[in-house]
């Protein structure tokens, strides 16, 4: 399918399409040969988010900080919950969650917003959600700067070597996000409701994940609603948030205090990495399967 300059390339197309493994191989090949395109798309996106506003890219530091402030006011002042170093406690979860939601949100519109181009030029559409995911990684990277600043200024006792494990946990999250991103990008071409639905699903997902509360609160909930509790343990963000919090904040204890940072639960992370890889494989096949119809439907 690919046209490469030089050796008189041949492009041919017919109604016959490759099988599942062939589609995944094709997708990998396309992403490798179009690295430059992904890079351009990411650069363009980063430039744009900074260009229109007064504070520009500064918003990438301010956004999570202000969001954290809102939750701190809500939970410690209104609900009067006592938890040691609560701002850091929730920041460790808000930052990856913001990464997740913005990546999914960008992925949803990544294909459908390029409708004009898709009808003009033949190019592998998989670069579009991939670029959206790459933008998300860059933004998560920026978000780590205010996290570090917060820790160095207010919680120097929490700084540990375990912080270096944040990117490792990030890899698990990235694979999971990519799987979801490919699916929503493709489905949104056919059903524009995906954006609306996802907003509500993501909000519910956030409150069902231990971001504002920790495992101690969840265990308390488990006594009253055992089914809900079991379901919550199957949430990948239960594992992810707990892992991030373990390396950034430490472990929450029943009396509102905390144990110092330590290594995360590698088994749980490993299981989610495997599950996410399978999901990504399936998502790639799904995306490639319906890719040929994009130009017709858009």
């Amino acid at each position: 399918m690919e046209t490469v300059r030089g050796a008189a390339p041949t492009y041919s197309s017919s109604a016959v399409r490759p099988g599942p493994v062939g589609l995944v191989r094709e997708a990998v090949g396309e992403l490798r040969s179009r690295r430059q395109l992904v890079r351009y798309l990411v650069q363009a996106d980063l430039k744009k988010t900074g260009a229109d506003s007064l504070l520009g890219n500064l918003w990438w530091f301010l956004d999570p900080l202000l969001q954290m402030l809102v939750y701190v006011v809500l939970v410690s002042v209104i609900f009067q919950r006592q938890q040691e170093a609560y701002p850091l406690f929730i920041f460790a979860a808000i930052l990856p969650w913001k990464w997740f939601t913005s990546s999914v949100g960008d992925a949803i519109t990544s294909v459908s917003s390029q409708d004009r181009l898709i009808k003009q030029v033949h190019f592998p559409k998989i670069v579009l959600p991939t670029a959206a995911l790459a933008v998300g990684i860059a933004n998560f990277g920026f978000g780590l700067i205010p996290l570090l600043a917060l820790m160095l200024i207010f919680y120097p006792e929490k700084v540990s070597v375990y912080l270096l494990l944040v990117p490792v946990i990030g890899v698990v999250q990235l694979v999971f996000t990519a799987a979801l991103g490919f699916v929503v990008a493709a489905v949104n071409v056919f059903y524009r409701d995906v954006g609306n639905i996802s907003r509500h699903v993501l909000r519910l997902w956030f409150y069902l994940s231990p971001a504002l509360y920790g495992p101690v609160t969840m265990a308390g909930l488990g006594e009253q609603h055992p089914e809900l509790y079991r379901l919550m343990l199957l949430n990948p963000f239960y594992t992810l948030f707990t892992a991030y919090r373990t390396v950034i904040y430490g472990t929450e204890t029943a009396n509102g205090m905390s144990l110092p940072p330590s290594a995360p639960d590698w088994t749980a992370l490993g299981i989610w990495l495997l599950v996410s890889l399978v999901l990504l494989f399936v998502a790639t096949i799904l995306f490639k399967r319906i890719e040929p119809t994009f130009a017709k439907v858009l």
């Binding site: 399918m1 041919s12 430059q36 181009l117 898709i118 003009q120 059903y191 017709k296 439907v297």
Partner: protein, 282 residues
């Protein structure tokens, strides 16, 4: 079907080969769906025409050095044919083979990123076309010179006039040294000077033994500069061959259709009582 013989050239490997190509659109999917629509579609499954063949049994060959004009009434499948040749859509039946680097900015400049400058958009377009970055950088000066939009090259595309956008688009599409150039209604854009310049550019590409396929409504362009023409009607090839002959058939057909439409309207008009008759234009 009145088929006219094309100028026969014995090239063993034509630039474009289409064998009995069909493109099917599923009418249930071609509109921007909401869940509500598809539920309704699910409920009403079975009634109504679900498939629409935008192209059917289209076969032709094009050798390097030929420029083919695709003409026909609106909705005949001309743009679908170009999209098919560009690889943007894949055939539902039959097969297409295109040999060589394809340049396919079909409606020029439509895919530009509004926030980026002209210069950045050139590089971006090159990346979308799959052209190596260094290669594209080498072509940058030539593209800018041909587009001739002055200082605007470093301004965001959103500040461009539609003419400037089309000029930049044309310049990119034709500067990437394509073996197969696909153009859709592009020669009608821009001022007289640029139009003359772009015609010269297309002729130059055709003369360099490249294949050109263009969709146009400009019949003088077809007869003067194309060495073959293909008439599409309702997704099927009605005539193919010498441009002058094909254009003549096309004009006869459109005249015939116009008269038939006028007759149908006159009939409908006569059936309605005096005074209630809607004012209809032919």
């Amino acid at each position: 079907m009145s088929t006219l013989r094309p100028t026969s050239q014995s090239d063993p490997l034509p630039a474009i080969e289409a064998h009995d190509v069909g493109v099917k659109y599923n009418l249930r999917l071609t509109r921007r769906n909401t869940l509500r629509h598809s539920f309704r579609n699910l409920l009403s499954r079975g009634d109504g025409e679900r498939d629409f063949w935008a192209l059917k049994d289209v076969s032709f060959k094009l050798v390097h050095g030929e420029s083919l004009a695709v003409i026909g009434p609106n909705g005949a499948g001309k743009s679908t044919l170009l999209q098919l040749l560009a690889g943007i859509i894949i055939p539902s039946a039959g097969s297409v083979e295109v040999r060589g680097q394809i340049s396919s900015l079909l409606t020029l400049g439509a895919g530009f990123d509004q926030e980026l400058t002209g210069r950045q958009n050139i590089l971006l377009a090159g990346a979308f076309l799959g052209i190596d970055r260094q290669d594209m950088k080498r072509r940058l000066a030539g593209i800018i010179e041909f587009a001739d939009i002055g200082q605007f090259i470093d301004a965001p595309i959103k500040t461009y006039s539609s003419g400037m956008r089309a000029r930049l688009g044309f310049s990119i599409a034709t500067s990437v040294d394509p073996d197969v150039l696909l153009l859709d209604e592009v020669l009608a854009t821009g001022d007289q000077v640029f139009r003359a310049k772009s015609k010269a550019r297309v002729l130059e590409i055709a003369a360099a033994a490249k294949a050109v396929v263009l969709v146009t409504h400009d019949m003088t362009w077809v007869t003067e500069f194309c060495n073959r023409a293909l008439l599409l009607e309702r997704g099927q090839v009605v005539a193919e061959g010498d441009p002058a002959d094909v254009v003549r058939i096309h004009q006869e057909h459109s005249e015939r259709d116009r008269i038939a439409r006028a007759a149908a309207i006159a009939e409908a008009h006569a059936a309605v009582p005096e005074g209630l008759a809607p004012k209809l234009k032919v």
